[in-house]
Symmetry: C2
Subunit: 392 residues, 2 copies
């Protein structure tokens, strides 16, 4: 039973048939615990998707999404589409890949590899640079590979949730721009947007995809992304061949432009309640300040990683201390992951197991994103640490 | 301002920044008004997507989804995926169409035409049989077309939301099975599942796609579909070539099989809160009884259509009375649609405009699905009728 303050909420009788009165403290690397305001923002009536009322909500969400990506200086376009993080990979495949195009995947874990599999499904010839487990890919390897072949697309996984490895996107993007200026630089920011420093405009990123349920702190169910003006120009050009429908940026661009300009347009029915909740979540982040959020995630991450490594003497999957340790989650080698996960669950705390195939049965993952990292009134991570101390 | 009983709910202070205290009565053909239980089922904490707690919710949802499609006698598989109705078309294109495959689209409006456009994007050679405006396509036309060419896929739009035309899916499916047994029969049930008689197993349908926000009465944001065992066997076979990722049934089938069997598996993060709400919505439908629901939609539809045509002397877009008049919405020719829509909005009632390009500026659409049709304590449609009487 969960005895931590702040999280436990009484569930109304209407919900009893679906959920128990109390819920565990959710410390997996997404979905994350929602703030009360974000959660309650789901409990709103349906609105017409083209009404001024909903139009205002999505307009604000799109404008604020730019701020979240640091993409409000140049043009480009933000997209909020019902789906999941995975949908973002398909948007890249369906819009930027033609049969036989070369793509370079800079892999730091299993999510990078899934992205590669997705691009291959869309016909890409994928080369993969795979990092040592728990490390990032050396810039020199990227430089060397770029000198061998022309790549239409280069993908960087900002944080790979399987290994908790953080890639230095700025340094990699600088290198790619220099060595291969025509390549589209695509960033998987599913586990980074909201908790890691990211500058879409300044770093000249072409496409960054993320999802609602991690450091943004909103419910799962939305694919959120930002495209550069170069990408938008391409999808509007005669060179663009539409190979899909729901994932086609040619279809979505005028819709999102319309909503952002205050003139709602229809293509596919948006997830009204989820978007209302996302709107509140992004407003909360911006009210705190994005830098302050990055800082809070870095603080809790350092505290937890230092404790786990120094006091418990456990080894992290990610090289630590190092520049490649992500701030939104921690991956920890333990002798018996199943036993540790079970012991924490028995104490009302839910953490995740390993998913990198080569070591999947040897580690656990603890997420510290959103409320868990940023709400000073909660002490989930210290409590989780105490439980780990008892059970590892 | 809305003065109707039942709908108006006070919005908590947390939401005030996003929405006003009162909302209009939403009578568009989707999204629809949610029941209180369905709406409140959104306001639940995030759960781990692979937890037993969420597993139980999605397991029940999938089992009940079969009942909703009348697909619980044969095997096949139900799918609940974050997205919208539109995503279902892409699932058909990405899984059942290879470059150059023939597809026959039986078109009764603009949504049928969008489906055709989607299949073309996936490389299909599409032939289209287009009905007279407001009518269904004669079976004889389908028979004649099937005798000319082999079609891999034949699509039927059960109800085209642009024209309110109902297609006799049973009769068409019987014919297609007889004339072209190898064709996959695909039904767009976005505006029919939950309000129109539909029998997936008995009519031998291969794939039926729908969405959460219409007659199912759940929030927008979920693509819901049912595939026959023939489709599942195909996607698991060596003949299947994966051409996408998020829309690939090869990826989703083991996931949904896992959840339905009580063993949650990961592919893409499910929309936890939306699925919890869908679970409640489907439970409400099944508690009423599916036939009773169909009957209630038919009753309110007949009452409204008779009043509008007989008492107001207005003409419907759909031929009426006829077998091809849908029961979940009514499309009505009026002299000045913008003026009528504005007058109703001023009285707190939101209806929709026309979207069939040839007549888009000449008609209005009124939705009567879900709560509006089935909750005896509300009188939205009689009130809407009174307003129409005053303002047409």
């Amino acid at each position: 039973m969960n005895t931590f303050k702040g999280l436990t909420r009484l569930i109304t009788p209407q919900l009893k048939r679906n959920m128990s009165n109390q819920v565990d403290t959710l410390l997996i690397p997404g979905p994350v615990i929602l703030s009360d305001s974000v959660q309650r923002a789901l409990d709103v009536p349906s609105l017409s998707h083209t009404s001024p009322e909903f139009g205002t909500i999505l307009q604000r969400t799109l404008k604020n999404t730019r701020k979240l990506f640091r993409a409000d200086e140049k043009k480009g376009q933000a997209f909020v589409i019902a789906g999941s993080g995975t949908l973002g990979w398909d948007i890249v495949g369906a819009n930027l890949i033609n049969q036989g195009d070369n793509a370079l995947v800079v892999s730091t874990g299993v999510f990078s590899d899934f992205f590669a599999e997705c691009l291959e499904a869309y016909g890409a010839n994928v080369d993969k640079l795979t990092a040592e487990t728990g490390e990032s890919v050396p810039l020199e390897s990227i430089r060397s590979q770029l000198s061998k072949k022309n790549y239409k697309v280069v993908t960087l996984t900002h944080v790979d949730t399987s290994t908790a490895v953080l890639t230095d996107v700025k340094a990699a993007a600088d290198l790619i721009h220099k060595e291969s200026p025509d390549s589209y630089i695509v960033v998987d920011g599913v586990c980074s947007i909201g908790c890691e420093e990211f500058e879409f405009d300044k770093w000249n990123i072409d496409y960054c995809l993320t999802a609602s349920q991690k450091a943004i702190g909103a419910p799962a169910g939305l694919s959120i992304s930002m495209a550069s003006q170069r990408v938008i120009d391409f999808v509007k050009s005669d060179q663009y061949k539409m190979k899909s429908f729901f994932t086609s940026l040619k279809k979505w661009t005028p819709i999102m432009e319309g909503y952002e300009a205050g003139t709602p347009k229809y293509f596919a029915t948006p997830a009204i309640q989820a978007i209302n909740s996302l709107d509140v979540a992004i407003q909360e982040i911006l009210a705190d300040g994005l830098e302050a959020r990055w800082e809070k995630h870095a603080e809790i991450s350092k505290w937890f990683k230092d404790k786990v490594t120094n006091e418990l003497g456990l080894k992290l999957v990610t090289k630590y201390p190092s520049e490649c340790a992500a701030h939104g989650l921690t991956a920890i080698y333990v002798d018996e992951p199943g036993k540790v996960i079970g012991a924490l669950k028995a104490n009302g705390v839910v953490i995740a197991g390993g998913i990198l195939p080569s070591i999947s049965t040897k580690y656990i993952r603890v997420g510290h994103m959103g409320v868990t990292a940023c709400d000073p009134s909660v002490e989930y991570i210290p409590t989780c640490y105490k439980l780990l101390k008892e059970h590892t």
